[in-house]
């Protein structure tokens, strides 16, 4: 698979930059030229309003947009009709918190999330719980970065949980959570589940039918696609019952003076002019990933993660957070070095051309549990190789020299 990494690197124009080692794909991935060209081609040759105009150009644009939806749905093993395009994963979660949550979560009810959620899977539930007089509860994370499943059972057992929100892969710890198990346990007590697949969809072969969550969300820009497009996959009967999220054009069936009726799925949740070029770009991204094969993508991430977990501890005092077993994690490694703050690690790596993230990674509750204000984080995708990890280790050694450690 290392050979594949060398092969695909040439597909990513930004990686032509002299000396660039990009290790921040958990924040946003780079884009292959196939994605950039698909969007460029759409604007140059096929741009038109979708769905309502009858002339051939508009029909072509509609076909491109809806064709992208079908490919995106197939990519994760779901139906196009219940695959809704949003602006990003955050908007998809807000959609569920608003359109489902406000009708179904009330005084005394609970929403249960985990302490390793991204702020995007925390704050929408805080807003909902505050508004509805409900309680937001958390499942702890143990020292190895794994979910405390006994706490999940305990909270579910009390019978007030309406929905469980869980990240498929933690954007900080890299933990690959047992989401099928969480869904099964939640369903046994009548609670719904929302899985945040923002880190998982880019690197795992997904079969959403097997996971069987009620809602599964992810975002395009971490999966080699463009910014400005996210995805919500939901169970049909829930989406049908739910009130709309945003009101406006396209999401309606008929508008009267005082009331309206709603369009069919998925368009009921897609108010206003859609992100057409972005959908086309995401369609090209999933085609690109499918051509490599998601099993190969996962194998590559696992190999790089194992190599990084082997090499990074060569740096004196370096601590790696999250599960020690590469089988139990995705291609995300958070770490700390005594005597150098993560921001300074990020700055000094940046000077060597090595792009790593430093900060709280939009996971402040988890940072407090870990007892650190911030971590540095390296994350991988198909275009990375062992060479990139060697460069990271060299940059970290150099950072220690600058800090006279």
């Amino acid at each position: 698979m290392s050979a594949t990494a060398v092969d695909v690197r040439a597909d990513f124009p930004v990686l032509d930059r002299e000396g660039l080692v990009y290790l921040d794909s958990a924040a946003t991935s780079q884009k292959p030229h196939q994605v950039i060209e698909a969007m460029d081609d759409y604007y140059r040759n096929s741009n038109a309003p979708i769905h309502r105009s009858v002339y051939p150009l508009a029909a072509e644009a509609t076909e491109l947009f809806e064709g992208a939806r079908e490919r995106v749905a197939r990519f994760v093993g779901w139906d196009a009709r219940t695959t809704i395009f949003t602006r990003n994963a955050t908007e998809a979660i807000n959609l569920v918190a608003y359109a489902w949550g406000r009708e179904n979560v009330g005084q005394g009810d609970e929403v249960l999330i985990t302490r390793m959620e991204h702020h995007s899977n925390i704050v929408p539930w805080q807003l909902l719980c505050q508004e509805r007089g409900a309680r937001l509860r958390y499942v702890s994370v143990d020292r190895d970065g794994e979910l405390a499943m006994d706490e999940l059972d305990e909270a579910l057992g009390e019978g007030r949980v309406k929905l469980v929100g869980v990240a498929h892969i933690s954007n900080v710890l890299g933990t690959l959570n047992p989401v099928e198990d969480v869904v099964r346990r939640a369903r046994a007590v009548g609670a719904l589940t929302l899985v945040d697949g923002s880190q998982a969809a880019p690197q795992l072969s997904l079969d959403l039918r097997a996971i069987d969550a009620d809602f599964y969300v992810w975002t395009g820009h971490k999966a080699l696609g463009p910014t400005g497009i996210g995805v919500l996959h939901g169970r049909a009967e829930l989406l049908e019952q739910m009130r709309p999220f945003l009101g406006g054009g396209h999401m309606i069936s008929r508008v009267d003076d005082q009331t309206s009726t709603w369009n069919e799925l998925p368009w009921k949740f897609e108010a206003g002019t859609s992100e057409i070029a972005e959908a086309v770009g995401l369609g090209a991204a999933v085609d690109y990933l499918s051509a490599i094969g998601m099993d190969s993508v996962r194998a590559h991430e696992r190999e790089l993660t194992a190599y990084a977990l082997e090499r990074m501890p060569e740096i004196d005092g370096l601590t790696v957070f999250g599960p020690p077993d590469p089988e139990r994690r995705g291609g995300v490694i958070s770490f700390a070095m005594p005597g150098i703050h993560p921001h300074d690690i990020g700055e000094l790596c940046g000077r060597e051309g090595v792009c790593v993230r430093a900060g709280h990674h939009c996971a402040q509750p988890l940072m407090r549990d870990m007892g650190v204000p911030a971590t540095a984080r390296a994350s991988f995708h198909v275009y990375n190789s062992r060479y990139d990890i060697d460069r990271l280790v060299d940059a970290l050694a150099k950072a220690r020299e600058v800090f006279e450690l």
């Binding site: 703050h341 921001h343 300074d344």
Partner: protein, 126 residues
């Protein structure tokens, strides 16, 4: 020598001056950098309208910690009313290094909490 991590910056980072807490104290403030989650608090004892004693506490990067350490030395003895006159340029001049836009808030957090303690103004220095 490194242009950013100069010897005196690293010295203030590793051996920060006036770090800790003061009890009792007359003024206090606590704030954080929303970009990175770094936290910084300050306790001040006032005598005769001047900053008599000052202690910072919290954690942060080399730039934010050195900024707090260096400016603490300037603040002690200063009339409390003068702290509100200090601006972002003052804080960056104290550091004596070039600060990129991405590290600006690191350099300004200590002034932000000192101004907060003395004036109640929670805005970022400009």
């Amino acid at each position: 020598m490194d242009a950013l991590y100069r010897d005196y910056i690293l010295d203030h980072y590793k051996r920060p001056r006036n770090f800790g807490t003061l009890d009792p104290h007359d003024l206090e403030w606590h704030d954080h950098n929303p970009l990175c989650g770094d936290e910084l608090g300050v306790h001040i004892v006032v005598e005769d309208g001047k900053v008599a004693e000052l202690r910072f506490h919290g954690q942060g990067c080399a730039i934010s910690q050195a900024s707090a350490s260096i400016s603490s030395e300037e603040l002690i003895g200063m009339p409390v009313g003068d702290v509100s006159k200090l601006d972002a340029d003052w804080a960056i001049d104290q550091l004596g290094i070039e600060i990129s836009p991405t590290r600006r808030k690191c350099a300004l957090l200590s002034l932000k909490v000192m101004r907060g303690a003395t004036t109640g103004d929670a805005s970022w220095p400009e």
